[in-house]
Amino acid sequence: MITLRALTKRYGEKTVVDDLTFDVEPGRVTGFLGPNGAGKSTTMRMVLGLDRPSGGEALVGGRHYAELRHPVREVGAMLDAGSVHPARSAGRHLLAMARSNGVPERRVEEVLGAVGLTDVAGKRAGTFSLGMSQRLGVAGALLGDPGILLFDEPVNGLDPDGLRWIRQLMRSLAEQGRTVLVSSHLMSEMQLTADQLVVIGRGRLLADAPVGEFLAGESRQAVHVRLPGEAARRALAARLHGAGADTEHRGGGELVVHGMPVERVGDLAHELGIRLHGLSSQAVSLEQAYLELTAASAEYTTPARETEV
């Protein structure tokens, strides 16, 4: 269990993490989503005691990380892949880690095997590809067999095989009853692994809901209507509003309708005698729902209206 209470981090005038309060429950994978610069990594660093909160607190298993006698055995974390000395071999890195927390040294062999790095245990970490560095990070997180695990953008640099592997790993860790927090800026990735989603933007909590609920709540069906002219569009939009739907004007004769099934939109157009040039129903993916949710809070956006991640 990870507990955040009004967690806040400011650097001078800039508030990077803003009053975050949520729990990460054991036994499921919690996806921690947000655009780049939303404050995910800073939040994780505060959970791990690396950065000091400007306000509020972060607890792991009800205690501050710094109070843990054997932190590696209670909390496993894979932060950015760059926290290993490049001149040290993977095996020696893990050995030092094991010794620091009284973890049996045979665990080094075990976790190296578990992440598929046995053959390169003696190689310097600086020679590793990004994917291998990620695997070494995962090995470090698993070393102390902890009940709480944090992974910061673990899928970066992994090949398809590695992707599948890490998804299975997260799922199985959660099934064993562990607390698993995984950050990502990719909603599509979370859709595949997470049970619960915590979405932040500009350091603020935007959503904290089960994946299913998130889909139902944020990504309703949208109906795209193409109309012959402006007058027709305005007439139909007025009728749809009257019937309780939301509409969005996409320029020209394009209309996007939320909160109404496609059949009903077609029927209403028919009642008004409006010709349609196009009518289609589109399920908004979790990805789009996420983009909509975070659009207003994205730290860095390209000028284009549609930002592809």
């Binding site: 660093r45 791990l48 005691g49 690396l50 950065d51 000091r52 990380y65 710094a66 843990l68 006698r69 054997h70 932190p71 590696v72 055995r73 974390a77 932060l79 950015d80 760059g82 926290s83 290993v84 000395h85 490049p86 001149a87 040290r88 071999s89 020696r92 890195h93 050995l95 030092a96 880690m97 010794r99 620091s100 927390n101 009284g102 973890v103 049996p104 665990r107 075990e110 976790v111 095997g113 578990a114 992440v115 598929g116 470090g140 698993l142 102390g144 067999d145 095989d161 590695g162 592997w165 299975q168 790993l169 199985s172 860790l173 064993q176």
Partner: protein, 277 residues
Amino acid sequence: MAAMTATEITTADERTGGGLHGAIHAEWTKLWSVRSTWWTVSAAALLLIGYTALAAISVRVQADNGGPEEVLPSAPQITTEAVFFLAQYAVLAVATLFVAGEYATGGIRATLQWVPDRTRVLLAKCAALLPALFALGAALAAVSLVIAVPAIGGAGGGFTVGEGVRASLAVGTYWALLGAFALGIGTALRSVAGALTVSFVALVVLPMLCGAVGLPAVIDYLPGIAGLNLMLGPDAVNNITGQPVPYPGWAAVALLAAWSGAALAVGNAVLRNRDAG
């Protein structure tokens, strides 16, 4: 590609260990598992022994050519010069890299995850590094004295076995305290280049400045000169200041320890109060 499930991972069952002892063990492992440590230690050995041997031969040649016997240095004096002019920079490098290097590589984040008590991290680094530096300094100084005796061939000032042992222990003590000083500076500044610059200024530039602005009385109390005085011993003339060493060996140790303690205290304050970096 290893497919795995976490169930393959067995449980860490020994619920002991860790603490300061674990932190020291981890730092010891880290110290000797990067090549830079081996390179800098080799450089220290080469500089110390190489300089001593060459300088000893030079003294012998001068003596053979009828140089004035009384101004020629003894073997312990040559070794002291080798430490002060050359080998101490290798000691600075190894100690600075040991802590400031972690900020360059990001390794500090791993270190503080494993050992979140930051004062304990600094203590562990001292406990891993300083005894090693003491042993290395004493052993290398002893070896260079043993090499210097036949090389100098009876020229220069003589010395007793007791004086040789004292000189070797003094070099070991200086290296350990210098290492502590560099650890403190490195922890405070978090940059290898910055820490090396500040240490160099403290050891070499500051004594020159003090001499230039007419504060010669201060020079003997600066860390580098205190180290030099420690290694020269209480009866010798300091060849930097040109004055006799003004205090006994224990006072030199106390002075150095005060400098190192101050540097470590500043480093510890920065480490405890700032984000991990």
